[in-house]
Amino acid sequence: MGRQVTGAIPDTSIFDLRLSLRGKRLNRLCAALCSPSERDAFKRDEEAYMARFDLTEGEKALIRSRDFKGLIEAGTNIYYLLKIGSVTGNGLYKMGAQMRGETYEQFLSTRNISGAT
């Protein structure tokens, strides 16, 4: 069938091995959040939590500033990002609104049935 991914798609991140390797530290941090005690640890002391995962200063800054667009570009997979969203009170749609450059309300107004949350 030949190559399956043949070009960039505007405004779209394609999560391939290169991106996955770039995001390895961030994705490990997120994966650990699949446990209640780790979520508590993150909420209790975010800096101490981050210190365990060998992040670069730039990666830490992305988490501190809740820069979801930047975290995706740094290789965080969207399904891992959802776990940071969960511990920081940012659900998928809030993160999505930020990535679109909109407020949450603006984003909801673009949906067919915005009550289905």
Binding site: Q4, V5, A31, S35, L92, R100, N112, I113, T117
Partner: protein, 277 residues
């Protein structure tokens, strides 16, 4: 002998889980989705499946990129409920069918040369559980069918091709039919439809593409399997590539279409299509 009695293509969307757990199914925004499953549940009651093979993808609950299988089959007596970062849902563990899993492993690897990763432990999450919730009402202590998870990499490219997924379905059918015991099997292909969850194109949906996909899944699935990941992602969003798992279901099921429904309230085209056999 083993027999495929039906197939279901359907979307797994994480927000459906809490709607079930909080009994919000009759709210106006959700009722159209759940109403579409009323005739499907009646049909399933008549079909009396013993086992559901659920073709799904994990969302970083139990599989990690450290070692990421392309195709992974559950080979366990039961599958516990995973925590994907939002807490463990109050659902009973899902009973597996270990003997059938072993038969499928041997047939798929020896006869059909699909080199599966075999998993003695899988904690299942929304990719698996939402389709189960939609089709099979659970009781406090269990589910009305046994189930076998078949996890596909649709997250970290390179992914298996749509054609490979379709052929896996064809092999799955032959593997089920080579099972010496009487067992009635439904195959569920889950995921998508159109959606993109990152980048400036977050929230992209394409109903026209989704309807076309369901048309072709019914009428010309072997041709549909020539879709590239690029084409799916361009038309329907990067995360819509999950749709290749619907082709595994269709490869396994040969009958006529029974139900079809589409609902796209928020960020994912939620499709439903069933086939008898």
């Amino acid at each position: 002998m083993g027999r495929i009695v039906g197939g279901i293509g359907l979307s797994h969307v994480p927000s459906i889980g809490p709607v079930v757990d909080r009994n919000r199914m009759q709210e106006p925004a959700w009722k159209p989705l759940f109403d579409a499953y009323v005739p499907v549940r009646e049909w399933l009651t008549r079909l009396k499946p013993d086992v559901a093979i659920v073709v799904y993808n994990d969302h970083a609950a139990d599989f990690s990129f450290d070692k990421y299988p392309t195709f992974a089959l559950g080979v366990a007596e039961r599958y516990p409920i995973g925590d994907e970062g939002f807490g463990t849902r109050p659902l009973p563990p899902v009973a597996g069918d270990l003997d059938l899993s072993i038969q499928l492993s041997e047939a798929l690897i020896y006869e059909h040369e699909f080199d599966l990763t075999l998993c003695q432990e899988i904690a299942v999450e929304h990719g698996f559980l939402v389709p189960m919730n939609l089709c099979f009402p659970h009781q406090q202590n269990g589910w009305p069918v046994r189930a076998i998870p078949l996890q596909v990499n649709v997250v970290q490219h390179p992914l298996p091709t749509a054609r490979r997924c379709y052929r896996l379905g064809e092999a799955l059918r032959a593997a089920v039919e080579s099972y010496p015991r009487d067992v009635r099997v439904v195959v569920m292909g889950t995921g998508g439809m159109s959606h993109q969850l990152q980048g400036k194109r977050f929230g992209h949906m394409n109903e026209k593409f989704d309807q076309w996909f369901m048309d072709r899944l019914e009428s010309a699935p072997a041709e549909l399997a020539s879709l590239t990941h690029q084409k799916i992602m361009e038309e329907a969003g990067a995360e819509a590539v999950e749709l290749i798992m619907w082709l595994t279901m269709r490869g396994a099921v040969k009958g006529k279409r029974v139900h079809r429904h589409y609902y796209a309230p928020m960020t994912t085209g939620m499709g439903l299509i069933t086939f008898d056999d």
